[in-house]
């Protein structure tokens, strides 16, 4: 492509950048950057109240009131209260497992969803499966407690494929982490 002079120049520069930032380097820098950020500390919420969330029907979101526990290939499955993208369960994977050839991102955005079976709230990690092109099946977009880009770990639009071989987004899982 001789007419594209910028290409050759650009490639060299890009290679330098790429060489200078290893993936491990990126992730270990988190300690210095994100965790040091004053994320919620200024919110005057008492710790005591955090232990007693209100899970009565009157406190539930529209999603939680209509959620089900039987079919994880539907957007209404309870764990999907804040998911965004294709469900891995429809793409050859499972609710918590990547389809063949995809790689589970070690980091993710998170949501707090109520299980209609036991009425408990659980922490769900929406771990993206990466390294394959967009699955485009069962696209869902749960938005319970989903916020904006300045709180990226609660934003479901970010491509959460960090520390994976390829950052291409394939689908999203909903991994149960524990009670909330």
């Amino acid at each position: 492509m001789k007419t594209f002079n910028p290409d050759a120049m650009g490639e060299k520069l890009l290679r330098r950048f790429a060489g200078g930032t290893s993936r491990r380097g990126i992730l270990s820098r988190l300690g210095l950057a994100l965790v040091a950020a004053p994320a919620f500390p200024l919110l005057p919420v008492s710790r005591a109240s955090a232990a007693k969330p209100d899970r009565s029907p009157e406190a539930k979101t529209a999603f939680a009131r209509s959620a089900q526990t039987t079919d994880d290939t539907k957007c209404t499955y309870w764990r999907y209260c804040a998911i965004d993208g294709s469900l891995c369960a429809c793409c050859g994977g499972a609710v918590n497992r990547c389809p063949p050839g995809a790689e589970h991102s070690p980091v993710s955005w998170v949501g707090t969803c109520i299980n209609p079976g036991d009425g408990r709230a659980y922490l769900i990690a929406y771990r993206d499966c990466c390294g394959k092109s967009y699955c485009n099946k069962c696209d869902c977009d749960g938005t319970d407690r989903e916020t904006q880009l300045y709180v990226p770990q609660l934003n479901n639009d970010v491509i959460w494929c960090f520390g994976t071989t390829s950052m291409e987004y394939h689908c999203s899982t909903a991994v149960l982490v524990g009670t909330a």
Binding site: K2, T3, F4, P6, M9, G10, E11, L13, L14, R15, F17, A18, G20, T21, I26, L27, R29, L30, L32, A33, L34, A36, A37, P38, A39, F40, P41, L42, L43, E58, A59, K60, T61, A62, F63, V107, G131, S133, Y134, T143, D144, R145, E146, T147, Q148, L149, Y150, V151, P152, L154, D157, V158, I159, W160, C161, T165, S166, M167, E168, Y169
Partner: protein, 429 residues
């Protein structure tokens, strides 16, 4: 077995006349001379072109059909690709969508597509304020979904839409359709590119010199707005506005007092920005409207409720309350000259902030008054407003249908099918 070959006629003609046509096409009057000046740097010589024409002339039988009495249509001249004027306020730039990237340019006066500014998936676009270039901040792998990642600002000539240059940058966030992850400052001389890897930072680029300047760590903040003479501000997870002085060797970051809750009633990271007045208009999930004056020490005014401004109950964060809420993917658009904010509103409960809008509310921000409510025939997911004196509102839905409305009357002017479902950008002052 050969019973059907007698009718091979049509195809034969094709062969014969391709040769004839191309020859005529090439030897005729001065209009045809344009051929030699075909747009771009074609690597084909005249000889190459003649040979190429022979591709359409496989069967050179030499037969020429008899001349006809009436004048037939003349062959088309060779025409260079269309070129464009500098971007006009009536133009909009619509990202076509996640798997079909690129920014389609439409003229809202005619409803016609003018061209396409190439772009990769999850890229961002900005318009040179001098009208000479379009900038794409993008990430491309050497082998499609695999290979080596290449982050860059790609520069296109605004007249020819040809690639001018690439400016390599050391990374950027991958997220779809956000307006404030790539912004220009200093009359288009400086660009800021937001990065999340997953630590949060900003890459500063000198567009005039075509090179990356430096990386600025920006923990806990995102969505930038240019602050004239200072650098930029950004919204933060502690509810503050960070302001970054970018000139010095070590960037200085200061934060305002927190004024909103980033997790309980977040400010949409799409907001109104008035470059000349250095004013921003923020909208929260519940419908609170904040205005802020940017500067070294930004000041934030007391908020008011858009619902109250329309005479309906203010939005709440409580569950089970059905009310009008702002929402959708690109849910508000600010007309700078008039100070009106156009907001996509829907009936729903709290945490429905991505729901499509069924009405457009026209808010006079200074007057704190919703002066008009425009019901939409089909729910919309994105809204933009041209910065013309007689502004036009543009809305799209997920299917990519685009509707153009008169901002004064709310009347529908035209619509475009398959226009695109991604971010809509306008030419801004």
């Amino acid at each position: 077995m050969y019973r059907k070959v007698q009718a091979g006629l049509g195809a034969l003609l094709v062969g014969v006349l391709a040769a004839q046509g191309f020859r005529r096409f090439r030897q005729k009057g001065p209009g045809q001379m344009k051929m030699m000046k075909v747009q771009g740097k074609s690597s084909l010589s005249v000889m190459g072109r003649n040979t190429a024409a022979a591709v359409c002339a496989l069967a050179l039988f030499g037969g020429v059909p008899a001349a006809r009495a009436a004048d037939p249509l003349q062959p088309d001249p060779e025409l260079e690709a269309v070129t464009l004027s500098a971007p006009k306020p009536s133009w909009i730039f619509v990202e076509r969508g996640f798997v079909m990237p690129g920014n389609a340019i439409y003229d809202t006066d005619t409803g016609k597509m003018l061209g396409l500014i190439e772009a990769s998936e999850l890229s961002d676009m900005e318009i040179d304020p001098a009208g000479k270039a379009y900038y794409i901040s993008e990430s491309i792998w050497t082998k499609g979904w695999r290979g080596t990642r290449q982050d860059m600002i790609t520069v296109y000539d605004a007249a020819t839409l040809k690639l001018k240059t690439e400016i390599a940058i050391p990374g950027r966030i991958l997220i779809d359709s956000r307006k404030f992850n790539f912004i220009l400052s200093d009359q288009g001389k400086t660009a800021y590119v937001y990065n999340l890897d997953p630590a949060s930072s900003v890459n500063m680029v000198d567009l005039a010199k075509g090179k990356f300047i430096k990386k600025i760590e920006l923990p806990g903040c995102a969505s930038m707005m240019a602050v004239t003479g200072i650098g930029f501000s950004a919204l933060c997870s502690d509810g503050s506005l960070a302001t970054v002085k970018t000139a010095g060797a070590k960037p200085e970051i200061t934060r305002s007092a927190p004024f909103f809750s980033a997790t309980n009633d977040p400010i949409f990271d799409n907001f109104g920005y008035d470059r000349a007045k250095q004013q921003v208009v923020f909208l929260t999930y519940t419908g609170q409207v904040y205005t802020a004056k940017l500067g070294a020490t930004p000041t934030v005014a007391e908020p008011f409720s858009i619902q109250a401004a329309a005479g309906v109950p203010a939005g709440e964060t409580k569950p089970l309350v059905v009310n009008w809420y702002p929402g959708s993917r690109q849910g508000n658009a600010y007309h700078v000259a008039s100070g009106h904010l156009f907001v996509l509103m829907h009936m729903g409960e709290y945490w429905s902030h991505k729901a499509s809008g069924t009405e457009i509310w026209d808010l006079d921000v200074a007057a704190k008054k919703v002066v008009k409510r425009i019901p939409l025939e089909e729910p919309a997911d994105r809204i933009a407003v041209t910065q013309e004196a007689n502004a036009k509102i543009v809305v799209t839905n997920d299917a990519g249908t685009l509707v153009i409305l008169d901002a004064n009357t709310g009347e529908q002017k035209s619509s475009i099918k398959r226009a695109g479902s991604g971010l809509i950008r306008t030419v801004e002052p």
